[in-house]
Symmetry: C2
Subunit: 343 residues, 2 copies
């Protein structure tokens, strides 16, 4: 997992070297990124550009057949994004890696939602900045799990001029068939990334992940979890950024080996059907419960194609489908209904 993208180092990085690793022109002018490279807004943008480049190139090497389509878009209210999508590939049925760097005024409903989460925000239409990377990868082979990750930085300026900032994110795995060794590898890689920044981080964020990715009406988790966190300000801006960077850098080593291991596994039509049914559950979670999706779609001027990129190419719903007792499908369901500790 050697990085193909250069890590930015002030005064020591040729800007052209940076750009070579990115999927498109950055949303912020590259000279601004360089000049303001001490500002967390710019550091976050450069970090997510690098991770996007690394991940897309790595997936392209695994894929073989198709390349990512790169869609750079601008938002009239401020900022924009770079959406990379690979569809109908040999290995990846649908993989999206999206970054967005947006700013403007937070709609009152968003301020309200943040207040209800405990944010101490003064005012109703506050200036904000948000930069994040988010991705969902739905492979073709039912023996390769789906992965999702999202890392973001948020800044809000209150009416009294005070600034609040926080980080959020997570990575989680959704297998169709359980391979305990894979799940352990996945969790161990995330834990190693967390452990560098605090002894209890993995434990706390693993629990939060199980609680968040929960399909309430079915009483089951979306997958086998990973890590999830929001409103992170600890230990300080620098420390929180390093933590989030470690998490983002752990995505490829946590997931790519699982793809390589199973991408050529033989599978039956029945296994494919099961995968599509589980993808239906994925759609249910994303459209009914996911805060990011709901928040995104209710925001005026939202780029819904980038938000809904997380949906699978195909999904299926059968009335009252229940896997056969003792089958591998049933084995997965038991874990989804009773999330466990993997390490």
């Amino acid at each position: 997992y050697l990085n193909s993208c250069k890590v930015y180092a002030k005064g020591r990085t040729d800007l052209n070297d940076l750009k070579a690793g990115w999927m498109a022109e950055p949303l912020t002018d590259i000279n601004t990124l360089d000049q303001e490279s001490d500002d967390m807004k710019r550091r976050m943008e450069m970090m997510i550009m690098r991770i996007q480049g690394d991940i897309c190139r790595s997936f392209e090497r695994i894929e073989g057949k198709r390349k990512f389509l790169v869609d750079r878009w601008e938002r009239k209210e401020g900022g924009g994004g770079i959406t990379c999508v690979l569809q109908d590939g040999e290995v990846f049925e649908k993989a999206g890696v999206n970054i967005s760097v947006v700013y403007g005024k937070l709609p009152p409903a968003a301020v309200q939602q943040m207040k209800s989460r405990g944010k101490n925000l003064v005012g109703t239409e506050l200036p904000f900045f948000a930069a994040g990377i988010s991705s969902v990868v739905h492979p073709k082979n039912p023996h390769v799990p789906t992965v999702h990750f999202n890392y973001r930085y948020f800044e809000v300026t209150c009416e009294d001029g005070s600034k609040q900032w926080w980080f959020g994110g997570g990575t989680d795995l959704t297998p169709y068939y359980l391979d305990t060794q894979d799940v352990k590898h996945f969790h161990q890689t995330l834990k190693t990334a967390c452990d560098k920044h605090g002894q209890d981080l993995y434990k706390r964020y693993k629990k939060w992940c199980d609680e968040y990715f929960y399909i309430t009406h079915r009483g089951e988790c979306r997958g086998v979890g990973g890590i999830f966190f929001d409103d992170v300000e600890e230990p300080n801006q620098e420390g929180a950024f390093r933590f989030v960077t470690s998490c983002a850098e752990s995505v490829l080593p946590s997931y790519a080996p699982i793809v390589r291991k199973h991408k050529d596994d033989a599978y039956t039509a029945a296994e494919r059907q099961w995968q599509l049914l589980r993808r239906g559950r994925y759609v249910e979670f994303n459209l009914i419960y996911d805060r990011g999706t709901k928040f995104g779609l209710y925001t005026p001027g939202a780029r819904y194609e980038s938000i809904l990129m997380s949906l699978p190419l195909t999904a299926r719903w059968e009335y009252c489908h229940a896997p056969e007792k003792g089958s591998r499908e049933d084995e997965l369901m038991k874990i989804l209904k009773n999330p466990k500790e993997w390490l």
Copy 2:
């Protein structure tokens, strides 16, 4: 469209004749239905049992290959339902016709939601009764539209003992390819049913339908509309019941001829793909916006399989799919973005 089910007439209907037309034992004991046949709760239950029987039998005659699976379920909080599903048929890819007759205490959130709609309800956990029929039919052939209908009766008892009741419902059509003649036939049949009960009903409820079945984030209607209404108390309980009965009876004559006309139309793989993409939009509407689905799934003890029966067997999401200018797919999109008057 001769009814196979007997219409109940007090003292003149043999109870065994009634039962013969229904899909299962009623939720309420048949002797209670007979004895309390002046009570709107019982009249509504008998009406929806009859409509369910008529529609399922009629669809089975059209289908040929498969029969409806009949699932009678009870709800521990009070009442239950009869879910009829026909899946993977030759004509119908997934057709669900569900009735439910439920009672108990309304959760505070539901009372709140009704108040926000303008209901003058006193109290927080109020006794309620609800009986309704709801159905979604997803045919296999992309030239046959999807239809949805729902007719319901609601009763709430306030803390001061006063009772409030109302009817709601509607029927709407979601074609994948536009056949103007079909859409006109569909709307004309609904209009004829409405006109018997009031001159402006069709006009008002047609408009309400276009507004309700709207996918806000995409700026498009789910389909070509039909009628939709809620909180109907006019002109009185008897008159409102007759109106709703006319609407429910108009479902088969509005839709069955369209199915018969197109069920054997030739279609291409590209047309099937387009149908699956549009079914993705159907899923988006139902899971993100539909009040019934949301309300249902957030209700403790909800029977989610009956609620999610509305979802298609298969749906598809492609990033930034856009139909070719001037194609038949594009022609449909124009109508969905600018709903028109059909009559």
